[in-house]
């Protein structure tokens, strides 16, 4: 069981690297969905051995896996279809450099969690904290380094995934109501952003954020 969780954690790390290094949305979006499914499975797998799965966890899993694993990729694929943009040609930061930044972020994430390790937090697994920080950092890198609006949404979802892991790492089982509230916010955020992208693509006939610079001082 321990080994299984370890493998899940490392696979989450690797999906992050894949997201950083791949230009094709056709690769990135399924990777994101895969990451979402792994995240959804993480809590039950973590809790499986000591105490069994509670109703609370079950509800959360039943909502979060379809949401993160299926609905978000579906929404993103719809945007891809509508805007007919399949890959980002020239991001602000080129793909090899993004991967390199991702490596630095990995070191940073482990350093940060080692700083926090001495203090008393009831972490369920030693790898959770670094994975959470790393996913958050990768989300931020994605948002900052990409020009396409859809990639920023992708980065936002990655960021939220990281926050979800962080929530589990810090607070263990948070109250169901709070979890559902956060999930609802994330869902609405992705929904609103996708509508926004659709409108932008209709108005500008592109979704390149770099070219949105009418408003300046």
């Amino acid at each position: 069981m321990e080994q299984l969780i370890n493998i899940m954690m490392v696979v989450i790390l690797l999906t992050n690297l894949l997201l950083l290094g791949s230009s094709r949305l056709g690769t990135c979006i399924p990777a994101l969905g895969f990451q979402g499914i792994l995240l959804g499975l993480m809590l039950p797998v973590l809790l499986l051995s000591p105490e069994g799965i509670s109703i609370h966890t079950l509800i959360l899993v039943l909502i979060s896996i379809p949401l993160r694993g299926l609905l978000f990729p579906w929404i993103l694929f719809r945007i891809v279809k509508k805007t007919n943009i399949r890959r980002e040609i020239e991001p602000f930061i080129s793909y090899p450099v993004s991967i390199f930044l991702g490596m630095l972020a990995l070191v940073l994430a482990f350093w940060m969690s080692s700083r926090l390790a001495g203090t008393p937090i009831p972490s369920l697994h030693p790898l959770m904290l670094p994975v959470a920080f790393y996913t958050i950092l990768v989300g931020l890198i994605l948002i900052v380094s990409r020009k396409l609006a859809i990639n920023q949404v992708l980065g936002y979802i990655v960021l939220e995934n990281g926050m979800y892991v962080l929530g589990i790492a810090f607070a263990g089982e948070v109250h169901l109501l709070l979890e559902l509230g956060v999930l609802m916010d994330v869902f609405v955020a992705v929904f609103v952003m996708s509508i926004a992208i659709y409108r932008i693509s209709r108005e500008f006939s592109h979704i390149d954020v770099n070219q949105l610079q009418n408003l300046k001082d």
């Binding site: 936002y156 607070a171 956060v182 916010d185 952003m193 926004a196 932008i200 108005e203 001082d217």
Partner: protein, 491 residues
């Protein structure tokens, strides 16, 4: 229990109103809005009265909670919201006549408008800091489409910046929230009360100081993005300048304060956990001064009238942060300043919005001779702007003066000098255009506009409040402010 009902009512009625707007016909919306706004005003009045007599109330097993600090904000919010909605009545008919707004979309925007109110109320009412975060994020998402009611490329750009920057910023605040939860993990709380603010407040001195410091950094940067602290402010001028005037009035008048309120809630927790050494307050002083300076320097060469006001909002948020950071009388002054700002700034945006509507341009160089064309709104713009930059008989002057006093009594002369310098730059750069806007010769042939009674009320009410507050502080208000300040000071 019956006291608890009012919390539920405050929370649910706006959402209910939003839902009714969405399903109703266009011509009924006006009535729905009037009913909701009126009942919200009455309810918040009752809530203030209850809080003055009882102290604090809670409902839903302590998940909803109201004390002096939050009831003060809630009451202000309802007033600002009512004013903004009322102004919408004199703003949108003209837009519809110009074919800039499709009345068929009214139900949809009405829903967003009232739901945004509901989300802000949720922020003030929730005792769980996680739910508070959910509320702040919800306000971002619900107000995003209000920015681009006029679908232009600029407004879409502003909306996208707002959406991405605030979502990411608020996401950082979530990390801070979780860190606060982790800081309290040695308190052995169950998971329903671990994130309750009252619980954390009672046990604040036992929270892990290292975690609280980390958390506060994330929270200030995260919620600070929404407040508009420099250097996270870049979305703010865009969003304020592109959204229609009632929306920008609500944004500036209270959306920013809503995020600021969250920081206020965390300040005593961090201060008590770190042994009241003023660590967190210094951070607020830094952000406050930095925002004042950035806002002042951008106001000097600003040509867009609404962007000018947006930068003024950044400046005022900086002043509030400065007051909170100086502590003591500064805390009181910061709270007082929120009241003054949320009276003055919406009026300023109303008048500016009207001027923009009449002249058809945002450029301050093209708005001339306003006093002749629309005397009511020109007066409103002039007076509210004078009040906001700190002219003497108005309330803003008093709160700024108290912050100065706080800085002097704390012997914090750097803050004093930066604050005075920033304010004087704002003062000069704002007055620069004022006379030209009011009296300058206009080349275009714009006919003088008719003034409604509603317009006169919208101008007179905030100005009267500001004038009264500048001359005389009612005792009950002073009590409320003092009690709220004590909550922040952690007594």
């Amino acid at each position: 229990m019956e006291n608890g009902l009012i919390l539920w009512a405050l929370l649910i009625i706006p959402f209910l109103g939003g839902f009714c707007c969405f399903i109703s016909k266009v011509r009924f919306i006006q009535w729905i809005a009037s009913i909701v706004i009126f009942s919200m005003l009455v309810l918040s009045g009752i809530a203030v009265w209850i809080i003055i007599t009882v102290g604090s109330i809670e409902a839903a097993h302590g998940w909803l909670f109201l004390d002096t600090l939050s009831v003060y904000h809630i009451a202000l919010l309802q007033i600002v919201f009512a004013l903004a909605s009322l102004f919408g009545k004199s703003y949108f008919p003209v837009e519809i006549a110009h074919k800039a707004f499709d009345p068929e979309l009214l139900p949809r925007y009405g829903m967003l408008w009232f739901s945004a109110l509901g989300a802000m109320n949720l922020v003030f009412l929730s005792n769980n800091i996680g739910i508070m975060w959910v509320g702040v994020e919800a306000t971002t998402l619900l107000t995003a489409f209000l920015i681009c009611i006029h679908v232009t490329s600029q407004s879409l750009e502003a909306m996208w910046k707002y959406l991405i920057m605030c979502s990411v910023g608020v996401a950082l605040a979530f990390i801070g929230t979780m860190l606060v939860g982790a800081a309290g993990s040695n308190l052995k709380a169950g998971h329903s009360e671990a994130l309750l603010w009252t619980f954390l407040y009672q046990n604040a001195s036992n929270l892990n100081p290292f975690f609280m410091k980390m958390a506060f950094l994330f929270l200030v940067v995260g919620y600070g993005t929404k407040v508009g602290f420099a250097p996270m402010h870049s979305w703010l001028p865009d969003a304020h300048s592109q959204s229609p005037a009632p929306v920008s009035a609500l944004f500036s008048g209270f959306l920013l304060s809503t995020a600021f309120y969250c920081i206020m809630r965390y300040l005593p927790l961090v201060e008590m956990a770190t042994g009241k050494q003023g660590w967190a307050m210094e951070i607020l002083v830094f952000f406050g001064l930095f925002s004042i300076m950035i806002a002042a320097s951008f106001m000097v060469f600003q040509r867009d009238i609404k962007r000018l006001l947006a930068y003024s909002s950044i400046e005022h948020m900086g002043i509030m942060a400065l007051g909170l950071g100086l502590g003591d009388i500064g805390t009181f002054a910061a709270l007082f300043h929120i009241l003054n700002h949320s009276m003055g700034k919406p009026l300023c945006f109303f008048s500016a919005g009207k001027l923009v509507q009449i002249y058809g341009t945002n450029s301050i160089y093209k708005i001339r001779n306003a006093m002749k064309i629309t005397p009511v709104w020109a007066t409103g713009f002039f007076l509210s702007f004078l009040a906001l930059i700190g002219m003497a008989p108005f309330g803003v002057f008093m709160s700024k003066f108290q912050i100065l006093k706080a800085a002097v009594s704390k012997a914090d002369y750097i803050s004093l000098i930066v604050f005075l310098f920033g304010c004087s730059i704002v003062f000069i750069s704002a007055l620069r255009y004022m006379l030209l806007v009011l009296y300058g010769e206009s080349e275009s042939h714009i006919h003088p506009q008719k003034a409604y009674k509603r317009d006169i009320f919208l101008v007179a009410f905030p100005m009267l409040v500001l004038l009264v507050l500048g001359l005389y502080m009612p005792e009950f208000l002073e009590n409320i402010l003092q009690k709220a300040a004590n909550i922040i000071r952690g007594y």
